[in-house]
């Protein structure tokens, strides 16, 4: 503790030190060492040289000096004819076109085919964060937004994978992605998630992220339907350290399509910096190279937006804006965009919420890639920006902004049913295939578990032989479908078959394809054609109602129902008989307490939960302790605290009155004062305790005696009381105001405390 006489630190900084934000570390902008989002002297100036219809130079590099990335972009991405046109356009003009709702998306997509990486970076770098979000909303390929979940657990437990996959499906995710703690468990994870994802509805695409060759084999066995871990990098040295080239990845892209499996590449800012080969270029420029490569390869989409590099990118100035900017380049290049928001980039919940908002309101093909549908500790990819812990926060953000984040609230009983069904289904498959026999205790522990720390199910070591059994036995999705059907899981068998059948037509290989209501929708049949208000994606009324249907929502009848529970108890403790019209008092030894219209009639406790009989009793005791009398009147002409107090004061022989509403808001007033200029006010009813009401009674008496007492202060720690109580308070107050009768005369109350009154 610093010496008070010689302070060496403002203690506010010590408080800030204790906040989660301070666990985040920030990097100084340093282009020479790769720590710059948008500006570096090493970034090339946009440029193109054409000779006889061929690319002779690009972004200041002669064709002869192209590295393998330049060479691939020049051959496969750039259209020389359009390049001639697009590269001659002012970057500022292109930037304005991106945010101009009157310029069609298709025209901008056409021009992007003539833009070099430096040009794309130069254009989007001119947009501020709001403009980037708007342009993203206009430029993304598919109209309807979607979302992707991670489904993993710390034990690779197939029962829990199935239950969590079914839960994710019910929340509305369009894709689910799994990976393993122990790599040889890949096949077991794949089967478990495929079965779980078939519970409830069909159409959720599924990926098992594993070693390239194994992942393709699992896909060929029919368990998975997409892949997205085909990474590309923005410098030649990073690419080769990643053990690939644009051609090896391009070949893999064709290989996946040849097996009828949807695929997107992955790239994100910061990967080159993490790998040590950034060439002093900016994060955005290197990412522009990655994205041009991907369009050149002919992949339909990209997982993009920092991804594993997002936490690093978020340490530099403008890093989060950069993540948005690279996503904009992706959709401008007409790629499906699974827009990151996966790796958790901050310990600060405020930074997390701020990070997601532009995507939530702009929409994205897959807003997260993915959202941790399981608790953070069960996320085998590492914690996501949002995990199961924050699921309800996300659902409420959707409702707040009336923005479709792709998810739908799930009722508790429905969740339990689906989890139970999924666990039974995957257990049946494991038994039918002779792989394992889960016990009833294992199953029930998983159904109710939030995460793997609570389960008594398979351990990673017990999963390994299951996984090896699937692989060695050559088990395919056909055997799994048969096993489900044999054990009576007919809808799940049908659902799983429907997903595998997608690969025959190849419809879901097109850009931004997903399955909704049993139909493939993509940028082809659900194109984003935003042209201003009223166009683009708009929620239907039924979808809006779905999003709004979060749990524990109050309405007035709910408030009255809960109040009615206290009515009988209060009736045993207190009675409020009317003894005629209340008249002005004539002696100075009284304090009048004016109660509101619904006080003890329809409402029986304060918002802090104190019985109104108790509140009145301690206030009266406070008054009588000073030798004065308390007189109670019911006011019917107003429910407003100030007017309740002033009316009471005007009826009081001492000129001092207390006004109190049923919710507990109270005021001490003087007959001589203006309505809103009271003596003391308890505005924070939810934290006002009985001792404060007793003090209120004593102080009212003190004022009546001509004293100047120390006002009663209700201590507050600055809690966000409003959010906890405002809905209820407004409904309670509406109950009060509904009972107000204009010009109603005050009633004298012959208050009686009954036998149960001290209970």
């Amino acid at each position: 503790m610093p010496d008070q006489a010689h302070p060496n630190r403002w203690r506010r900084f010590a408080e800030w030190d204790a906040r989660p934000l301070r666990l985040d570390k920030f990097a100084r902008e340093d282009p020479a060492n790769g720590f710059s989002a948008f500006r570096s002297p090493a970034d090339p100036k946009p440029g193109i040289g054409l000779a006889m219809g061929k690319i002779a130079s690009m972004d200041g590099v002669l064709a002869h000096d192209f590295d393998m990335i330049d060479a691939f972009i020049a051959r496969h991405h750039l259209d020389p004819v359009i390049a001639d046109e697009a590269m001659a356009m002012d970057s500022g003009l292109l930037a304005r076109m991106l945010v101009d709702m009157n310029v069609p998306r298709a025209e901008l997509v056409r021009l992007a085919r003539g833009c070099t990486p430096a040009k794309l970076a130069d254009v989007v770098g001119q947009l501020n964060a709001l403009e980037i979000a708007f342009a993203y909303s206009k430029m993304r390929a598919r109209r309807t937004p979607g979302n992707q979940a991670h489904v993993t657990n710390a034990k690779d437990d197939p029962l829990q994978l199935a239950a969590d996959a079914a839960t994710a499906v019910a929340y509305g995710f369009d894709e689910i992605e799994t990976t393993m703690r122990v790599s040889r468990n890949a096949w077991s994870n794949a089967v478990a998630c495929a079965v779980g994802a078939a519970v409830g509805r069909w159409g959720v695409l599924f990926q098992c992220s594993s070693e390239e060759a194994e992942e393709l084999l699992i896909g060929m066995a029919g368990f998975t339907s997409y892949a997205e871990t085909v990474s590309v990098y923005g410098t030649e040295k990073s690419f080769t350290d990643g053990d690939d080239t644009p051609w090896s990845k391009g070949f893999l892209a064709a290989a996946y399509a040849s097996r009828g499996i949807k695929m997107r590449c992955t790239s994100g800012a910061g990967s080159e910096l993490l790998m040590g080969f950034h060439e002093a270029k900016t994060l955005l420029y290197l990412e522009a190279r990655c994205l041009c490569l991907q369009r050149g390869m002919g992949v339909q989409g990209t997982q993009n937006g920092g991804i594993d590099g997002a936490p690093l990118t978020a340490t530099v100035p403008g890093g989060v804006r950069e993540l948005m900017a690279e996503n904009l380049i992706a959709v401008w290049l007409d790629l499906e965009c699974a827009s990151g928001n996966d790796a958790r980039s901050s310990e600060s919940e405020i930074r997390v919420g701020a990070k997601i908002l532009p995507y939530l309101i702009a929409g994205s093909d897959l807003i997260c890639s993915g959202f941790g549908s399981i608790p953070a500790y069960d996320n085998s990819f590492n914690p996501s920006l949002f995990n199961a812990e924050e699921m309800e926060d996300y659902l409420v953000l959707q409702r707040d902004f009336e923005a479709d984040g792709g998810l739908t609230p799930l009722a508790e009983n429905r969740a339990l049913d689906l989890r139970s069904r999924a666990v039974e289904a995957v257990s049946a498959v494991l038994e039918e295939l002779g792989l394992a026999t889960p016990t009833p205790d294992m199953k029930v522990s998983v159904v109710v578990a939030s995460g793997s720390a609570e389960t008594r199910s398979f351990t990673p070591g017990e999963v390994a032989p299951i996984s090896e059994g699937i692989k060695a036995g050559g088990v395919t999705v056909i055997e799994v479908i048969k096993a489900l059907a044999r054990r009576g899981f007919t809808p799940e068998a049908e659902n799983l078959l429907s997903v595998v059948k997608l690969r025959l037509s190849g419809d879901y290989l097109q850009t931004s394809a997903m399955v909704r209501d049993g139909r493939v929708i993509s940028a082809i049949n659900d194109p984003n054609e935003y042209q201003g208000p009223g166009s683009g994606y708009r929620m239907t009324e039924s979808r809006r109602l779905q999003i709004n249907d979060i749990r524990d929502v109050l309405d007035q009848s709910e408030v009255l129902r809960s109040e009615a529970q206290f009515e009988r108890g209060e009736a045993a403790r207190i009675a409020y008989p009317v003894a005629g019209t209340a008249m002005p008092g004539t002696t100075p030894d009284e304090v009048v307490i004016g109660i509101s219209p619904a006080f003890g009639v329809k409402l029986f406790q304060t918002t802090a939960g104190h019985k109104l009989s108790e509140v009145l009793r301690v206030m009266i005791e406070g008054i009588t302790a000073r030798g004065l009398r308390a007189r109670v009147v019911r006011l019917g002409h107003t429910a407003d605290t100030s007017f309740l107090g002033l009316s009471a004061a005007r009826l009081s022989g001492s000129g001092i009155g207390i006004g109190i509403q049923a919710k507990g808001t109270a005021v001490i007033h003087s007959a001589a004062r203006l309505p809103h200029n009271n003596l003391e006010l308890f505005s924070n009813a939810p934290i006002t305790r009985l001792e404060h009401y007793a003090g209120f009674g004593r102080n009212a008496a003190a004022y009546a005696l001509g004293e100047a007492p120390e006002p009663v202060v209700v201590p507050t720690k600055g809690e966000a009381m409003g959010s906890r109580f405002h809905a209820r308070v407004a409904m309670i107050y509406a109950i009060e105001t509904a009972m107000v009768v204009e010009g109603a005369a005050p009633q004298e109350i012959a208050l009686r405390f009954l036998a149960g009154g001290r209970g």
């Binding site: 991405h77 059907a485 025959l504 190849g506 850009t511």
Partner: protein, 140 residues
């Protein structure tokens, strides 16, 4: 025959009767009942070159030429066995081939054995760039 357009999409809805698996089984014949009767194999659930070329036409009509080219390359790979696909991928990774010759040979094998002309050209292009960029070096 006129080319397919975006109006023909999705093919599973507009021309379900023409969509078939590798052995010729039609989409509509693949039902839970036929699976349970043992009439469906994994081959029946494999995409055909025809379907990929159809999707390539749709992608081209949607002004996505590079996606269309990828579908065309994919159509050539449908008949290529998994082992050959994986070993070709491996060969294309940096430092796996010790010289251009290995890639040229592989391109020839795919061109002659599977009529995979676009794939072969793609591999030859890689050979040329790898040579220029010194990627035929020892890595591990």
């Amino acid at each position: 025959m006129t080319k397919l357009s975006v109006a023909d999409y999705p093919l599973a809805e507009t021309r379900a009767d023409q969509i078939r698996g590798k052995r010729g089984l039609a989409l509509g014949d693949i039902t839970l009942a036929s699976v349970l009767a043992g009439e469906v194999t994994m081959e029946d659930l494999q995409i055909t070159p025809r379907a990929l070329l159809d999707q390539a036409e749709i992608a081209a009509d949607a002004k996505r030429p590079t996606l269309a080219q990828n579908f065309a390359r994919a159509a050539e790979l449908v008949a290529v066995p998994q082992d050959l696909i994986m070993s070709t991928y491996e060969l294309l990774r940096p430092g796996r081939a010790q010289s251009k010759d290995a890639l040229i040979e592989r391109a020839a094998l795919l061109r002659e054995g599977y009529a995979a002309h676009a794939i072969a050209d793609f591999i030859l292009e890689a050979a040329e760039i790898y040579q220029k960029r010194g990627l035929f070096t020892y890595r591990f």
